[in-house]
């Protein structure tokens, strides 16, 4: 039974490590702020969730210590990781950081120009 629990823990922790390393390589190599935010928010959130589930299973199955605060941390990271990436990329687009030169289409540009025009009329 201990061997089965160890296999489960090793599986979750190795999956989390793969995602963390992939997000680090993505921040190292991608050409643009928006693609880097894409890499950082998605894959590092999934990686930390997998590693925390591995830690939770280790303390539950090996040490017989059920710790619900780790599950609360997993839930909090699942909610706030993508929200942080979204709000960071949106505010830096409004602040005027240009996308990568190979970008094909830009739907947010028309929307933000329309929004600025409406605000100027209102004020």
């Amino acid at each position: 039974m201990t061997i089965l629990a160890n296999i489960l823990i090793v599986f979750f922790i190795v999956a989390g490590l793969v995602f963390i390393v992939v997000s680090a390589i993505g921040l190292f190599r991608l050409p643009d702020l928006y693609t880097r935010t894409h890499a950082a928010s998605k894959s590092s959130t999934l990686g930390v969730m997998c590693i925390l589930i591995g830690v939770f299973l280790h303390f539950w199955l090996i040490k017989d210590h059920f710790n619900p605060s780790i599950l609360l941390g997993v839930l909090f990271l699942f909610i706030t990781g993508p929200v942080g990436g979204h709000i960071m990329s949106r505010s830096s687009y409004i602040a005027g950081i240009k996308p990568w030169s190979g970008t094909v289409r830009d739907d947010l540009k028309d929307e933000i120009e329309r929004m600025k025009k409406e605000q100027n009329i209102k004020e």
Binding site: N6, V10, I13, V14, G16, L17, I20, V21, S23, A24, I25, L27, F28, L33, R36, T37, A40, S44, T45, G47, V48, I51, L52, G54, V55, H58, F59, K63, H65, N67, S69, I70, L72, G73, F76, L77, T80, G81, V83, G84, G85, I87, M88, S89, R90, S91, S92, I94, A95, I97
Partner: protein, 93 residues
């Protein structure tokens, strides 16, 4: 099993070093904030792995604390980059 957890810790530390490169080099302030957010997430992994290695469950409260502080820091920096101030004053009073 102990060697496996030490190896996992070393892999996370190496990925933090790769994120520090982006923190130093990044052309915009937004790049640095994104790199800091990713470093905070990797630090949460490091705290979990250290609590396994040192065989205590006292470190596990730090996980929630780091998650909340990293999220609040990212939101505050994004407000600052978008508007120039973090807490907007109310002009109607």
């Amino acid at each position: 099993m102990t060697y496996f957890f030490w190896g996992a810790t070393i892999v996370v530390v190496l990925s933090i070093v790769a994120l520090l490169y982006r923190l130093v080099k990044g052309p915009n302030p937004s790049d640095r904030v994104v790199a800091l957010d990713a470093i905070g997430v990797a630090l949460i992994c490091l705290v979990g792995l250290f609590s396994i290695v040192f065989d205590t469950s006292f470190f596990l409260e730090i996980i929630l604390l780091l998650a909340i502080l990293s999220f609040i820091g990212t939101i505050a920096f994004s407000k600052f980059i978008e508007k120039g101030d973090i807490i907007t004053r109310d002009n109607s009073r």
